[in-house]
């Protein structure tokens, strides 16, 4: 803010205050909120012209593949690579004992949050782990063949797959190199959440139930496998990365190989074949890139690493575990106390408490939640669309159980308990007013729209009560929670007005995960600057030194949207100031003021035209304005010819935004917007098959800046949720610890034939989000919440709880006593 006046600095501070309602929304929206076919990535992706890291081929590029552990827990005691080295086309074999491989990872991790296995460790902690050795060869096939020629002597170790057995103090250690004292590990950060006194709540409750359920681990399935390309240009690394958070790659890399100055790193982040998880911070993910750089340095050639499809199963979701709950409630559905414990496998970041969403979204006065993380010999559990899975599944199961026990409609139970951090809706209304938001009952609006779309009142019935003429049992499921507001991120974004034609370019690197985010940021910039949408462009694949919060498929519009808006507002002011008086007096003079008798506030910009508010006919296009003002470069010949081209300073502005919001248990801001989801199923009690008949998603997104993108996250998240709720599970052989379905034939994800039901997508715009214009993020939440809804819907159909997710036909038949 260095060049701003005191008044402007004050305005910026107010703009960056996102602890309350947006104090400066626009009066009218030209591009924001509009539907249209424009996707900046659309034609490229549909026509096969979009480039992904897997597509990168450089002259002389070598291919790097990794040794995989055949055992779930083992140590390499001896390795002989002689035969592999002799294979034609093999150029380098990187072994675990290379002196430049760190003994502990220094990959830029967040200290103290999780373990730090070194890249290419000689210790394997799960079957299939890429470790021990990597071969660089002229082709992938040769590298793979060479891997098979490496002779390895292993010392097998005892292993754990069962979390309850591994929790026992006498159990063998699963990850002794990272967790030498115990398999039971919490970092003590937010692992216990207490509100009120649950003992009092249970004592006062008319009913108390206890139940437990299991969620089996599943994984992200990124269509583009983890990969990266590393090339050294002298001492400058040039990288192409498939990463959700490219800024962290750069941050990490500067600490590698004895240190690399940040300004020597050239980063490319092309289109991303999605990932839905597998954090860049995780050493299992960053290690291969470290190895690629080391081999590239040793060979003097570019090196591309790519995991095999099997290797992409290196980690899993954070909800793999056992959940135990005790709930106290009254007969009318009022919940008084919830005590819950989640015992989950391998959470690298055990901070997402099972009762967290109950705290954030309800008036339940007494809560106690505990996370237990137990390390077993599976891959790391990392956010997998998303880390809120344990908490949303817990909310869904608690509310569904209470409704069933009371014989009540689950929608009514939700409305009865809606609130914030133990406070009722009267309190929430007062908070809304205090923070400057409209007082809208978001859940009431969402459920009303959803019930109408689903014809809920006509269709809902008590559990197990409706058999259809086709013989199937009919079921209805409902769940809800808050919208994800933001993710504790920061964002830097700049905007430049291009010389000569006055178009605007947004500058900031971020990954593209397909949510049309680039267009969304252009919509904001266009409306704020007064430009036509086609005059604003954003290519986040290049590194201009600014990084936005990513991925956008998370909740980060509420961070990045602010940063774009701040930058656009500053830039617009600069344009108008330049239009009324010359700036940047130079030896070549300056440009001619377009409106010399005006003040900036006398002018405005609309449709890429600067005009006088009092007389819009007095106008100049931004293109004409900067064309005259923006000439730069050698002009000697023209000066010799007797005239000078003017020069003025570039029209450029940057800004930034820092979020303090949710995901922080000490979040000072109440969640005000809600989402509600309705599901209709039929269950064949002879085969156990579950047929999805209809889904309705209602999301109060506050303000839908790019409605088609929002809807894409609704139906897309629903499809992923069904897939995970019905099919997805990583299956291990208990005798050997080997994963049995680490491929896309045996690990089932939904296809078109599994999506035979209509999915209604309804957006509510209450304006009660903490993002710009009252918006919230929507990228993660539908996929996360819908994952748990199959269970309650099936219970409503058959009248029996299936406490083991995913809900597969065999479990249905077992619940019905048929097998």
């Amino acid at each position: 803010m260095g060049s701003l006046s005191d008044k402007e600095k004050q305005t910026m501070r107010e703009m960056q205050d996102n602890l309350r309602a947006d104090p400066f929304p626009l009066n009218t929206y030209t591009h924001i909120g509009k539907r249209g076919p424009r996707r900046l990535d659309g034609h490229l992706k549909a026509s096969g012209k979009a480039d992904y890291t897997m597509d990168v081929q450089l002259p002389g590029m070598l291919h790097l593949r990794f040794l995989n552990s055949p055992f779930p827990h083992a140590e390499i005691t001896h390795m002989d690579t002689t035969e592999a080295e002799r294979l034609d086309g093999v150029r380098y074999i990187l072994r675990y004992d290379h002196p430049d491989l760190p003994s502990r990872a220094s990959l830029g991790k967040v200290t103290g949050i999780y373990g730090d296995p070194p890249p290419l460790s000689r210790f394997a902690h799960f079957e299939g782990e890429p470790m021990g050795a990597a071969v660089a060869a002229e082709t992938e096939d040769i590298a793979e063949e060479a891997i098979r020629l490496i002779k390895v002597e292993w010392a097998e170790r005892p292993f754990n797959l069962d979390i309850m057995a591994a929790k026992d103090k006498n159990a063998p250690l699963s990850y002794p190199e990272m967790y030498p004292d115990s398999n039971y590990w919490n970092n003590g950060l937010f692992d216990v959440l207490i509100q009120g006194d649950v003992k009092k709540g249970f004592a006062a409750a008319e009913q108390v139930v206890e139940f437990a359920f299991v969620r089996r681990g599943h994984t992200w399935i990124g269509p583009e496998r983890p990969c990266g390309v590393f090339r050294w240009k002298g001492d400058c690394p040039e990288l192409w990365v498939k990463q959700q958070r490219p800024h962290l790659v750069k941050k990490n890399l500067c600490t590698w190989y004895g240190g690399v100055p940040m300004n020597k790193i050239q980063l490319h982040c092309l289109y991303q074949g999605a990932s839905f998880g597998g954090w860049v911070q995780v050493p299992w993910n960053m290690g291969p890139l470290y190895c690629a750089g080391l081999v590239a340095r040793e060979t003097g050639r570019p090196v591309k690493y790519a995991f095999s499809r099997r290797e992409d199963f290196y980690g899993q979701s954070m909800d793999d575990g056992i959940y135990r709950f005790k709930v106290g409630f009254n007969d009318d559905g009022t919940i008084l106390a919830v005590e819950g414990t989640s015992t989950c496998a391998n959470q690298i970041w055990p901070v997402f408490n099972p009762v967290n969403h109950l705290r954030e979204n309800t008036r339940i006065p007494h809560l106690k939640g505990k996370i237990e993380t137990v390390w077993v010999n599976k891959g790391p559990a990392v956010p997998t669309r998303c880390e809120q899975l344990p908490a949303t599944l817990s909310l869904t199961m608690v509310f569904s159980r209470v409704a069933a026990e009371c014989g009540l409609d689950p929608v009514a139970v939700a409305l009865k308990n809606d609130g914030v951090e133990g406070h009722d809706m009267v309190h929430v209304s007062a908070e809304k007013k205090k923070l400057g938001f409209p007082d809208i009952d978001s859940l009431a609006v969402c459920v009303e729209k959803g019930k109408t779309a689903m014809d809920w009142d006509a269709k809902w019935h008590p559990p197990g009560a409706k058999q259809l003429p086709n013989g199937r049992m009919h079921g209805m499921g409902f769940t809800w929670t808050n919208e994800w507001d933001d993710s504790l991120g920061s964002s830097e974004i700049a905007i430049r007005i291009e010389r000569n034609d006055g178009t605007a370019t947004i500058l900031s690197m971020g990954c593209d995960n397909g949510v049309d985010a680039e267009n969304t940021y252009c919509q904001i910039a266009a409306d704020e600057l007064g430009l036509n949408l086609e005059d604003v462009h954003y290519n986040p694949q290049v590194d201009p030194g600014f990084f936005r919060m990513s991925p956008d498929s998370s909740t980060n519009l509420s961070v990045n949207g602010w940063a774009v808006r701040h930058a656009a507002r500053i830039l617009k002011q600069r344009i108008l100031e330049a239009a009324v008086r010359p700036t940047a007096e130079t030896q070549r003079g300056s440009f001619r003021a377009a409106f010399p008798d005006c003040a900036p506030e006398d002018l405005d910009i609309l449709g890429s035209v600067i005009f006088k508010k009092s007389d819009p006919s007095e106008s100049i296009t931004l293109a004409d304005f900067v064309r005259e003002a923006g000439q730069s470069g050698p002009v000697t010949s023209t000066e010799n010819a007797g005239f000078r081209w003017a020069f003025t300073e570039p029209l450029f502005a940057f800004s930034y935004h820092v979020q303090v919001g949710s995901y922080n248990p000490e979040n000072p801001r109440p969640h005000l917007t809600r989402q509600a989801h309705f599901l209709e199923v039929e269950v064949d009690t002879e085969t156990g098959e579950i047929f999805i008949i209809k889904a309705v998603n209602v999301n109060d997104v506050g303000k839908a800046i790019n409605p088609m993108s929002c809807e894409g996250q609704q139906y897309g998240g629903t499809v992923m949720g069904w897939s995970r709720g019905k099919f997805e599970e990583m299956i291990y052989d208990p005798a050997t610890g080997v994963m049995l379905n680490g491929n896309l034939i045996d690990y089932k994800i939904a296809t078109t034939l599994d999506v035979d039901a209509p999915i209604d997508t309804i957006l509510v715009e209450s304006g009660m989000g903490y993002g710009p214009y009252g918006s919230v993020g929507i990228g993660e939440d539908v996929g996360t919440v819908m994952t748990g809804l199959i269970g309650p819907a099936v219970h409503n159909a058959i009248g029996v709880w299936i406490d083991d997710h995913p809900i597969t036909p065999d479990k249905v038949l077992k619940a019905l006593g048929k097998i």
Partner: protein, 191 residues
């Protein structure tokens, strides 16, 4: 031992001199065109003739993606389970990761790049209906859809779903593909 350094390119028979080999070729092979070098195939890709020299272990995916730069075909599963590498060969959608390139001699292949270059309305329909998110699987869907419409210009919604059931999309865009394909079907058959 007598050496025979001159090998007939037609039948691999050895001769001591080029003159002897030439006489043999004229007599026994009637001076016909020389056979292709080992591994050379001839095929038409997106309407253009190609004669690449392929190795025995190359798949059609390797040929089009890695060697001809047609990167629209994507490798997602690498074992015929996802449809992302789909190309159209002699009118049928095929998985290019499951076909050896050397078996494609004489074939006619169409990739998503060819479909787009021909201005097929599927491209605009896919953009219009956001039948894509991350986009990695999208070319495979477009290619499969094009093959469907070539074979069945007026498919039902269920026929579209069946045709696309071998294409995986992790972003969950399935509902939009049916909308886009049916719209294009209507447009093409109306015209």
């Amino acid at each position: 031992m007598e050496t025979k350094d001159f090998i007939c390119p037609h039948c691999a028979k050895g001769f001591k001199s080029p003159e002897e080999m030439k006489a043999h070729m004229l007599a026994d092979h009637r001076g016909g065109a020389l056979p292709s070098p080992e591994g050379r195939i001839r095929l038409t890709i997106n309407g253009k003739a190609h004669a690449p020299d392929v190795k025995p272990n190359w798949t059609l995916y390797h040929l089009v993606h890695d060697h001809l730069g047609l990167t629209g075909a994507k490798q997602f599963c690498d074992r015929g389970a996802c449809g992302s590498c789909t190309v159209i060969m002699d009118g049928k959608p095929v998985l290019s990761c499951m076909i050896l390139a050397i078996e494609c001699d004489g074939k006619t292949v169409e990739t998503v790049e060819g479909i787009a270059a021909a201005g097929h309305p599927l491209i605009n329909a896919y953009v219009k209906h956001h039948a894509m998110q991350c986009g990695y699987c999208t070319p495979g869907f477009v290619t499969t859809s094009k093959a469907l419409l070539d074979d069945n210009p007026r498919p039902t919604a269920n026929e579209v779903k069946i045709a696309l059931s071998g294409n995986l999309c992790r972003c969950g865009t399935y509902p939009q593909h049916t909308i886009a394909v049916l719209e294009v079907s209507q447009k093409l058959t109306a015209s």
